[in-house]
């Protein structure tokens, strides 16, 4: 899965590399079809120059400089720092004509730096690396604009119009991300030195950006963070913990985050690499973060990735199936049918990897839920549940435990055949019913008998309940 993303990153990079125009003109202004759909997002990004005092320079003039490869080695260091300084200047992208020349110079400079880092032609010393990371930080670590949902300053806010947000400063931002990616993946980079600059604080800020509404930005962040995780062994526990914190905040406080999907994609590949037997820490992560992620309203937006992570766990260690299944049951949606279909699909995947022993531990609550889903008046939910009986592994598990399962779901099957509105569901239910009948005719008849008995008693049971509570009320009133 991840390689695909990487390739995409490369594609983007090569495109921008090729588009090198030497003379800055107004035509080379940033992408004109960038959608800017509210006022405050366009309202000027800070345009004052940010100085790089610590590097010994302070002027923020953006000017055309000679190419690094054209000057003698001895002067390259100073020129490199000077170029970083140019790239530290931020521009206002709400107005394409403003500073068009300077913008073009920065774009070309960034492209030159990317090429330099990629080619590995000149090894960067520590000062250069520090400056590079500092420049990248200044460019990408910004406060994200108000998100769609929290923005009241938007004009003509049509909620139906589901337009993707595109950061207007992307033309530069993209190059800076590309540069960071090249730096992180470059074979010359010594992680012992680089970890001083790409430190915990850097990683935290990178994670903050995952909330960006610009999908292109999240794509880069995902690739970069994953590479950092891969290269910097020392950061691994910290990154996992920081991702957990993002999940907890999303789950318990805000319920809003744009980057859950991307983070899960990274985790999917991390989980894939977990050694066996699995560490306690990883199991806790499953229980405390991954399973609760099923609770959120917007689970549909990242369910595929989440489901992949979850099944990875179960495939690695089948003994976790019981925990996972109970977890899913705990967060079972009450009214959201779309979510319920997703849950049924995920459970099927999990059951594929489940062994008999774990299955027996959770089958009672599991099939109580399945019975409810079979009876759902939303036909897609009922259909998804009944499709389980097309799965050989599941059917064999059910057959093995039919004495427990059939009594639980018998009533649901009868009800569907009697009064489900949907023809297809009637048919599917009849098939499942027949399957049980053929499996064990004796058991089937016994269930039928019990069901009829219960039906007959149902009314009196409810009466009994009302009566009991009435007597309790009386007892309470008398204070006995």
């Amino acid at each position: 899965m991840f390689n695909k993303i990487r390739k995409k990153g490369h594609r983007k990079a090569s495109k921008s590399d090729g588009a090198e125009t030497p003379i800055p003109t107004n035509n080379a202004a940033p992408n004109p079809d960038v959608t800017v759909n509210h006022a405050s997002r366009t309202a000027g990004a800070p345009s004052q120059p940010l100085s790089l005092d610590c590097l010994g320079h302070s002027s923020g003039v953006v000017e055309v400089l000679p190419l690094l490869k054209e000057i003698p080695l001895s002067e390259r260091h100073a020129l490199f720092i000077r170029k970083l300084q140019i790239c530290c200047v931020s521009f206002d992208f709400s107005d394409t004509l403003k500073n068009a020349r300077e913008k073009e110079i920065k774009r070309q400079t960034l492209n030159e730096l990317i090429e330099l880092v990629q080619s590995g032609s000149s090894k960067m010393n520590e000062i250069m690396q520090e400056g590079l990371v500092k420049m990248i930080s200044i460019n990408v670590f910004r406060c994200l604009p108000p998100a769609m949902h929290e923005n009241t300053g938007s004009e003509s806010g049509d909620p139906d119009e589901d337009e993707m947000f595109m950061d207007p400063s992307w033309p530069h931002l993209q190059l800076v991300y590309e540069l960071l990616l090249r730096y992180v993946v470059s074979p010359d980079m010594d992680t012992k030195i680089a970890k001083r600059y790409l430190d915990h604080s850097f990683v935290l800020k990178l994670l903050d950006l995952f909330d960006s509404e610009d999908a292109r930005e999240r794509e880069y962040l995902k690739t970069i963070l994953h590479r950092i995780y891969g290269k910097f062994m020392v950061h691994r526990p910290f990154i996992r913990k920081a991702i957990n914190d993002v999940f907890y905040r999303f789950l318990f406080e805000t319920e809003r985050h744009s980057g859950i999907c991307e983070l899960l994609e990274i985790l999917g590949s991390i989980i894939n690499g977990f050694a066996l037997p699995m560490k306690e820490e990883h199991k806790l992560f499953l229980v405390r973060a991954l399973i609760p992620l099923h609770k959120a309203k917007c689970v549909a937006s990242y369910h595929q990735q989440l489901s992949y992570c979850i099944t990875q766990f179960v495939e690695k260690d089948y003994r976790l199936a019981d925990i996972v299944i109970r977890g899913l049951l705990k967060y079972w949606p009450v009214t959201n049918c779309g979510k319920e279909v997703l849950f049924l699909g995920e459970l099927e995947d999990v059951l594929e990897a489940t062994q008999s022993e774990e299955f027996q531990r959770c089958m009672v609550p599991l099939f109580r839920q399945v019975a409810r889903s079979i009876n759902s008046s939303h036909f897609q939910v009922a259909e998804r549940a009944l499709f389980w009986w097309n799965n050989e592994h599941i059917v064999s598990l059910i057959a093995e435990n039919r004495h427990t399962i059939l009594p639980i779901i018998f009533e649901a099957l009868e009800k569907n055949i009697k009064c489900h509105w949907n023809q297809a569901i009637n048919g599917l239910t009849a098939n499942v019913r027949r399957m049980f009948q053929e499996m064990d005719a004796e058991l089937f008849e016994e269930c039928q008998r019990q069901y009829e008995e219960r039906e007959a008693r149902a009314g009196s049971l409810e009466e009994q309940r009302v009566l009991t509570w009435k007597r309790l009320e009386e007892a309470a009133a008398n204070g006995c």
């Binding site: 309202a43 009241t152 300053g153 309790l472």
Partner: protein
């Protein structure tokens, strides 16, 4: 199953119900926990029911939430305050569950119980509980503990207090940002209970830690602490410790932080005193009013009146007013709307001359705003300006604004303006109203949208109340009655509704002479819906008019309707007749 003559075991009933598969039944039984407790009696509630609940915390979150809530008001059922401590263990368990709602409710209930408990019991039971939660392995317990310190602290001994402060300080530096955020959220509440000496040292150092947190989300909450802490500190300490922080925050690179500052800033003015307000807070506030981010300007604009109330009028005119002028033509409609909702309140602050000179042009330009919310916000606060400069200066611009809103294509806008009509009427006076607005009020009775017609009917009633029955006899009743012959039955229905509302205001005499004949006439309508509404209106008139009128006019009319071919008409007519019987019986 217990039969009727078998003995009753309340706990067994509860256990049985809580085992049920249907969550609704489980919820119902938790909701009736007090019944079970009363049936058990106080002692058995303490010894059997509460321990059972402590163990049964593995249910659905919804059931747990109900339990957390019920336990908060359970003190009377366990034998009063001296036994309140038995309620702590189940709530302690609920403080550590995963779901935030449940934890919050459990903390709320614990605070409620803790604030009633005797001092000795707090020492023996409550404080150890807080300490246990604060040392919890999983963050949920630690988060919950943060909300309990302000209850525990006042009754603790000197040594215990030291310990509690140390624990809180650890929570402020917890490994998990979740816990640090909870500590930041509750710092103000906790600080209110801490002695001044420790406030200046311990609490302030916790505050400083939080303001420098590397997570944005924690620093954000520290902004709120600024105002809360400021209230408890001496002015000079506030200037020394809080002021620099808030000034810094007001220039934070994160708009979320600046947004919080814009919301909170005015609360600090009092705490730091007039001098620091002038030199530091006013410039900070002015920066926020001119912020790049619309969200920040919205927050700042919404506080403009509150802020100016604290300042001297000169400062307000000199520094804030220029920004207000800019904001009145801000590019974001929401900024203008926020400004319009508070700006009228500035009139009393600035006084008559400044209002006429400075504010009036702004009012007028906002009254012409293209966005209806802005205009509505101005109109809704008209009374505040009226007191200062009178309405005459505004009335020229008001009328076109009102008329335009009255005809807006969005019915919600029309509805909003109708609701302000009685206010406008009282401010503008009878004369203005007769000339300009009377026709509008009648026009709304024939609006296409039901909600508008409904509001219009209520509106004529409120006008009659405002200007008195005599005025209404001239300016409302004839016009309204005129419309009863409208060809559209929905409009006739609206008029019927208006009549029923007007009757109590107009009194018995007018009702009998003017309204009743019209209603009786309408009883012959061809549409059944009209007829059964007539029956309803007649019923509502019974208490207003005299007995002979009821007998002579209302009853015969209802009797006739009670023989109508339509079943609904008969039903409501019979209801009316029954109501008459009841009145007769009781009189």
């Amino acid at each position: 199953m217990a039969m009727i003559d078998e003995p009753l075991y309340p706990i067994a009933v509860l256990i049985d119900e809580l085992k049920n598969e249907d969550i609704q039944l489980r919820l119902n039984s938790i909701r009736r926990l007090s019944t079970i407790a009363r049936a058990l009696g106080e002692e058995r509630t303490r010894k059997e029911l509460i321990p059972f609940l402590s163990e049964n915390n593995d249910d659905d979150d919804e059931v747990l939430l109900a339990m957390a809530e019920e336990l908060g008001v359970f003190v009377p059922y366990v034998g009063g305050v001296e036994h309140a401590n038995v309620l702590l263990p189940p709530l302690e368990g609920l403080c550590s569950v995963e779901e935030t709602c449940v934890r919050d409710k459990a903390v709320e209930s614990l605070c409620r119980i803790g604030s009633q408990m005797r001092e000795a019991d707090l020492l023996e039971f409550f404080i150890p509980l807080v300490k246990r939660l604060a040392a919890g392995e999983w963050f949920t317990a630690r988060v919950s503990s943060c909300g309990l310190f302000h209850i525990a602290y006042p009754s603790a001994s000197e040594t215990l207090r030291n310990e509690l402060r140390t624990i809180y300080s650890q929570l402020c530096q917890d490994d998990m940002p979740m816990v640090r955020r909870a500590a930041a959220t509750n710092l103000g509440k906790f600080a209110a209970t801490v002695e001044p000496a420790h406030l200046k040292t311990d609490i302030m150092s916790m505050f400083e830690d939080l303001t420098q947190d590397d997570q944005d989300s924690v620093r954000l909450l520290a902004v709120e602490d600024c105002a809360a802490l400021g209230k408890h500190l001496e002015p000079q300490d506030c200037v020394a410790h809080i002021l620099p922080v808030i000034v810094n925050f007001s220039q934070d690179k994160s708009w979320r932080v600046r947004y919080m500052v814009a919301n909170q800033l005015y609360e600090l003015c009092e705490a730091v005193g007039p001098e620091a307000t002038r030199t530091d807070l006013v410039p900070a506030y002015v920066r926020l009013l001119r912020d790049n981010e619309a969200e920040v300007r919205i927050a700042a604009a919404g506080k403009v009146t509150k802020f100016c109330r604290i300042l001297s009028p000169e400062l307000a005119v000199q520094h804030v007013l220029p920004c207000v002028k800019e904001l009145s033509s801000d590019s974001s409609q929401h900024v203008r709307s926020a400004l319009a909702s508070v700006i009228m309140g500035m009139a009393p602050v600035l006084g008559k001359d400044a209002t006429i000179e400075q504010l009036l042009p702004i009012f007028l330009s906002l009254l012409k705003d293209e966005f209806p919310d802005v205009r509505l916000n101005i109109i809704s606060k008209l009374d505040q300006v009226n007191q200062v400069i009178g309405i005459d200066l505004l009335s020229q611009s008001l009328l076109p604004a009102i008329v335009e809103l009255a005809e807006d294509r969005h019915w919600r806008v029309r509805l909003a303006i109708i609701e302000y009509i009685p206010l406008l009427a009282s401010q503008l006076g009878v004369g203005f109203f007769d000339d300009k607005l009377g026709a509008l009020c009648m026009q709304w009775l024939k609006d296409k949208v039901f909600s508008i017609r409904d509001a219009a009917a209520t509106n004529v009633k409120r006008l009659a109340e405002e200007f008195g029955p005599e005025w209404a006899m001239q300016h409302i009743i004839p016009q309204v009655l005129d419309m009863i012959n409208d060809p559209h039955y929905l409009y006739r229905m609206t008029i019927l509704h208006a009549i029923s509302l007007l009757a109590p205001v107009m009194g018995s005499e007018v009702t009998c002479s003017k309204l009743l004949p019209v209603i009786v006439e309408t009883a012959k309508d061809r549409v059944p819906n009209i007829k059964f509404n007539v029956a309803k209106v007649l019923q509502s008139l019974v208490p207003i008019v005299d007995q002979p009128v009821v007998e002579k006019t209302i009853r015969p009319c209802l009797v006739e309707l009670s023989e109508d071919p339509d079943v609904d008409v008969r039903y409501f007519a019979n209801q009316g007749l029954q109501a008459i019987e009841q009145v007769m019986m009781s009189s």
